[in-house]
């Protein structure tokens, strides 16, 4: 099976569960191939968890789900060192983070302390407990879901942590037709449970390796940098995109190229990805009458800024 067919197969598989959200599914796969972590942000009940679940299910690899609550502790995530009497020593008991796919459900319901325990895992793909470093398995992907920031009982994610998510996606309500299909399904089983895996962990690692081979022409890179530069110079933003953000855009553009069956990036890739890859990395300028950091506003602003940058011909 060629890489294009493989990728197609994952998307089709997830589409069996998530109806009519092919773009969101595609982006989730892009995120997977770019070795990134995905943040799904939307109102409750539109399928965030199901998407994460379905993606994990489509891959033949370990999957853990952590339901974040306000009393969750860091050790509940990374694991603890316990004294083993037989061995007369401390033994590390791995937490649920030790899996290929980790679904961090409602991540903004927990305290910042617990949230930041995810930090090292997400960026370094390793865990340090009691001066001991434990590498995580590859592939490793965190799919986090959260409710919009305005909702009650939430702890907004710190910027540093937001920056570690490759992209922030919104699922949105389905259309009437799509919703009808969802309702017509048998209710006995969680839909994601019926999925079978189409891809092994090794396959995923191999696919991730092909992403590195994608060619980004000099002027496409220039275009990317021009967009990043424009966010930093925009008066509407108090904080522009970091270098990590630029790297994320580059990586995801390459992954998108692979998903679309190309071995080279287009300016189109950059332009399409910019809102979802960059919008959670910028801070709106509050002097311009935007008091809250709404998803919509940020995305729209990034889109506006992208529209000012000329595309290389």
């Amino acid at each position: 099976m060629s890489s294009t067919q493989t990728i197609r197969a994952i998307q089709d598989n997830i589409a069996l569960v998530i109806k009519g959200k092919s773009h969101v599914i595609e982006m989730a796969v892009v995120c997977l191939l770019a070795r990134g972590h995905l943040l799904l942000e939307d109102v409750p009940g539109v399928g965030k968890t199901t998407l994460g679940h379905s993606l994990a299910r489509s891959l033949d690899c370990s999957f853990k789900r952590i339901q974040f609550t306000s009393d969750l502790l860091p050790s509940d995530i990374v694991g603890v060192s316990m004294f083993n009497r037989q061995k007369q020593g401390f033994e590390f008991i791995p937490g649920p983070i030790f899996a290929n796919i980790v679904l961090a459900d409602e991540i903004n319901r927990t305290t910042p302390k617990t949230q930041s325990s995810l930090l090292e895992a997400m960026s370094e793909a390793q865990i340090s407990v009691d001066n001991q470093t434990h590498p995580l398995e590859q592939p490793f992907m965190v799919i986090a879901t959260q409710n919009p920031a305005e909702y009650h009982g939430t702890f907004p994610l710190p910027e540093s942590q937001l920056d570690r998510f490759l992209m922030r996606l919104r699922i949105g309500y389905p259309t009437i037709e799509e919703e009808r299909k969802v309702l017509d399904r048998p209710h006995s089983l969680h839909p994601a449970e019926s999925l079978r895996a189409v891809l092994s962990a090794q396959d995923v690692v191999a696919l991730q390796a092909t992403v590195d081979q994608v060619h980004m022409e000099e002027h496409v890179t220039d275009y990317l940098l021009a967009i990043v530069q424009a966010t930093r110079q925009s008066e509407l933003l108090s904080l522009g995109v970091s270098t990590r953000g630029a790297l994320a855009l580059s990586k995801s553009a390459k992954a998108l190229a692979v998903v679309r069956g190309r071995d080279y990036c287009l300016p189109d890739d950059i332009k399409e990805l910019a809102p979802i890859v960059l919008s959670h990395r910028v801070m709106l300028n509050r002097t311009h009458g935007m008091r809250t950091q709404s998803f919509d506003q940020a995305e729209r602003l990034v889109l506006d800024i992208v529209e000012t940058v000329p595309v290389p011909v």
Binding site: H215, A226, L266, P310
Partner: protein, 728 residues
């Protein structure tokens, strides 16, 4: 050198070349020529990158409003010039043109200005072609072609990169286009010069092939005929002296079989005079007869039978290019027998002078075959000659009161037994005892001949010749005065004599009953210090080039063209016959077909040929239109500066231009794919084409793998199809 710099420089050079054409043609008055030259030099220096000039010029760049009012002012000047000063459309138009050119040169900013500059330059070079036929036009025109090809290529190049840069963001050159190197590379240099050479070749081909039209609408009017003297009804003694210093060229005489003539001089006879009244010469009133035609364009001046029996003569053929003169006389070596040229009629007077019905209005080319009579041996030694009555009546006339001359003549010929010896004695006396001088104070004299012979003893050809004729006549020997030119300036490069105003001459013809009129010259040779310096020979070389230019280009007429065509047809007939003979030996049926073809070809009428040529041209044009994109593709593929990436980029840019003409403009921040979708919605017919080109473009532009030839030609084809579409 970068394209932009080279473009600016070649544009200004183009204008400079066109202007210098007008300057050389001396069609610009000083008040216009000086500022023009100044502005041209400054502009060239500025475009050439002299930073000082650049800064100065930047300060005096004229604002658009001012330039508009200046142009209006130039138009007013044009009107005034047309009505009051030049009073002719051509010179006034040229002044106007140069004014506009200067204004444009000072306001060169946008590409539009450059286009205007090119149009003005084209008009200037056309105008200078209209006012001149001189040979200096050749280098000017070649330079113009050279500059024009460079300029147009660079214009195209800079526009391609310019439009691409316009689509990118000018403030951020990092995202500019990659249209290959934007400097002049060696291959580009050679390619462009190759194009120049090809253009020159094609220009020549077109010049020789396109049918001539008679006279250009703007051709120089023949107002300025060269003033000659000595060829009117009456010649006062001393008239020729006035032109003896004038180096203006009157004619050029080629001798096809030069071996027949000594190459140091050639007498070109104009008119003969028989009546002398003591101060001036005139014709006795004789009727002029029109010459008969022996063939088309060939006139018989003197039938061979009219030659006295037993006479000997030397045949000289001359091809003469006569400048525009104010006289209707045709010049030729004595005595013309056959005259051929493009005249309607030629007349001859009784003394074998040739006339046209009217002074020619333009340069004249004609050929003459002359028989130069030689004195036969018997008459050289005969003691007495029997002159016919008519000759004695006309050619022995002398004015009254010439006793002193009579005495002198008899004294001079003492001891001479035969008329020929007497003639030689008179000639020798004049050669030996008088000094050639051009000091002209004869106008006030009542008796110029006596003055010459007895008091001053200096004079020039007319005095010598008149003295000889009068002395011979007093001795009873019929003689007459002849005016014309004595050609001495042989151009060894072109094989012709250059005849100038200062070669105007007068000499003597002496009558011998059986030999005819023998040319005798009593004037001592002026020691023309012919120091054959290198410069002089170089000058002669240049002069011969000018003659070739004149013969090959300026006076290249429909007749010459026909001759070429005729020659080619004869050649092709020969080839065809050979071929058909060869084919016949090979196979019967094909030979039959070929002979049918050749029969058809023989039946070809000129009208038919024109029709076929027309059809051929139209077909060629259609073919070129059809393969235009292929050619464009070929050019883009083979341009040294455009690798395949550049090729697809140019095709894409062409697609964008085409769409823009149809009202679909791509905003800079829209990606190629988005734009393709937009076109798909707005103009469905073009949608698939644009999508296909966009795909190929993206692949060729951004991937590592260059497009294959097939893909490129597919893209070119699609662009071609797109260009043929019209949006409803």
């Amino acid at each position: 050198m970068t394209f932009e710099r080279a473009f600016a420089l070649s544009s200004v050079l183009l204008a400079a070349v066109a202007c210098s054409g007008l300057l050389f043609a001396q069609s610009l008055p000083l008040w216009l020529a000086l500022p023009t030259a100044l502005i041209l030099i400054l502009s060239v220096l500025q475009a050439g990158g002299m930073s000082v000039v650049r800064r100065r010029m930047a300060r005096i760049i004229i604002s658009p409003a001012l330039s508009n009012s200046l142009s209006l002012g130039a138009f007013v000047i044009f009107l005034v010039d047309l009505i009051f000063f030049s009073r002719d459309l051509l010179p006034a138009g040229i002044h106007f043109l140069v004014l506009l050119l200067n204004i444009k040169l000072l306001t060169l900013q946008q590409r539009r200005d450059y286009r205007h500059l090119y149009a003005l330059s084209l008009m200037a070079i056309l105008a200078s072609a209209a006012v001149t036929t001189d040979a200096w036009y050749v280098p000017i025109f070649l330079l113009y072609l050279f500059a024009a090809v460079w300029t147009l290529l660079l214009y195209h190049m800079t526009q391609e990169t310019g439009s691409a840069a316009g689509a990118g963001m000018p403030a951020q050159p990092a995202i500019g286009p990659a249209a290959g190197p934007s400097r002049i590379t060696a291959p580009f240099l050679w390619l462009t010069n190759g194009v120049v050479a090809m253009t020159v070749g094609m220009t020549l081909a077109i010049f020789f092939v396109i049918p001539r039209v008679g006279v250009g609408a703007l051709q120089k009017t023949s107002g300025e005929a060269l003033r000659t003297s000595g060829f009117s009804e009456r010649v006062d003694l001393g008239t020729i002296g006035s032109v003896k210093q004038d180096p203006q060229i009157v004619m050029r005489v080629e001798l096809p079989d030069r071996s027949a003539v000594s190459n140091d001089h050639l007498y070109l006879r104009g008119l003969a005079y028989d009546q002398y009244n003591g101060r001036s010469w005139s014709h006795s009133r004789t009727r002029q007869r029109s010459l008969g035609l022996v063939a088309e364009g060939i006139f018989l001046a003197r039938p061979p039978s009219s030659r006295p029996p037993g006479s000997q003569s030397l045949t000289i053929r001359q091809d003469i290019l006569l400048e525009t003169l104010d006289t209707a006389v045709l010049f030729a070596a004595p005595f013309a027998e056959l005259v051929s040229g493009e005249f309607l009629a030629v007349q001859a007077d009784a003394m074998s002078g040739l006339h046209l019905p009217a002074p020619p209005s333009s340069r004249l080319r004609y050929s003459v075959t002359s028989q130069v009579p030689q004195l036969i041996a018997e008459e050289r030694t005969a003691t007495a000659l029997d002159y016919p009555e008519a000759v004695r009546l006309r050619y022995l006339q002398v004015p009254a009161g010439l006793q002193r001359i009579d005495e002198l003549a008899h004294r001079v010929v003492q001891g001479a037994a035969t008329p020929f010896e007497r003639t030689r004695a008179v000639q020798q006396h004049l050669l030996d005892n008088y000094r050639y001088s051009l000091e002209a104070e004869q106008a006030t004299l009542n008796h110029p001949l006596e003055e010459f012979l007895f008091t001053r003893k200096t004079g020039y050809c007319e005095h010598y010749a008149t003295a000889m004729v009068v002395m011979l006549r007093t001795l009873g020997i019929p003689a007459r005065l002849v005016t014309g030119f004595l050609a001495t300036e042989w151009n060894e490069y072109g094989g012709y004599f250059t005849v100038r105003q200062r070669d105007a001459h007068a000499w003597v013809e002496v009558y011998f009953p059986r030999s005819g009129w023998i040319t005798m010259d009593p004037t001592p040779a002026v020691n023309a210090a012919s120091a054959a310096s290198r410069w002089e020979s170089l000058g002669r070389f240049g002069a011969s080039l000018r003659l070739q230019w004149d013969r090959l280009f300026v006076s290249y007429s429909a007749k010459d063209q026909l001759a070429v065509v005729h020659g080619m047809r004869e050649g092709s007939d020969f080839v065809r016959e050979q071929a058909s003979r060869w084919v016949a030996s090979l196979s019967g049926p094909s030979a039959k077909a070929l002979s049918r073809l050749s029969a058809m070809a023989r039946r070809f009428q000129p009208g038919m040929a024109g029709l076929v040529t027309g059809l051929f041209v139209v077909g060629l044009a259609i073919f070129l239109l059809m393969v235009r994109d292929r050619i464009g593709l070929w050019a883009t593929l083979h341009l040294p500066i455009a690798p395949s990436q550049g090729a697809i980029l140019q095709l894409y840019a062409r697609m964008l231009r085409t769409l823009e003409q149809q009202g679909l403009r791509k905003p800079p921040s829209v990606t190629a794919r988005e734009f393709a979708g937009f076109v798909e919605r707005e103009w469905q017919a073009a949608g698939p084409l644009v999508a296909c080109i966009t795909d190929l473009y993206q692949q060729g532009r951004f991937s590592r793998r260059p497009l294959s030839q097939d893909e490129l030609s597919l893209a070119a084809e699609q662009v071609g199809q797109l260009q043929s579409l019209r949006r409803m």
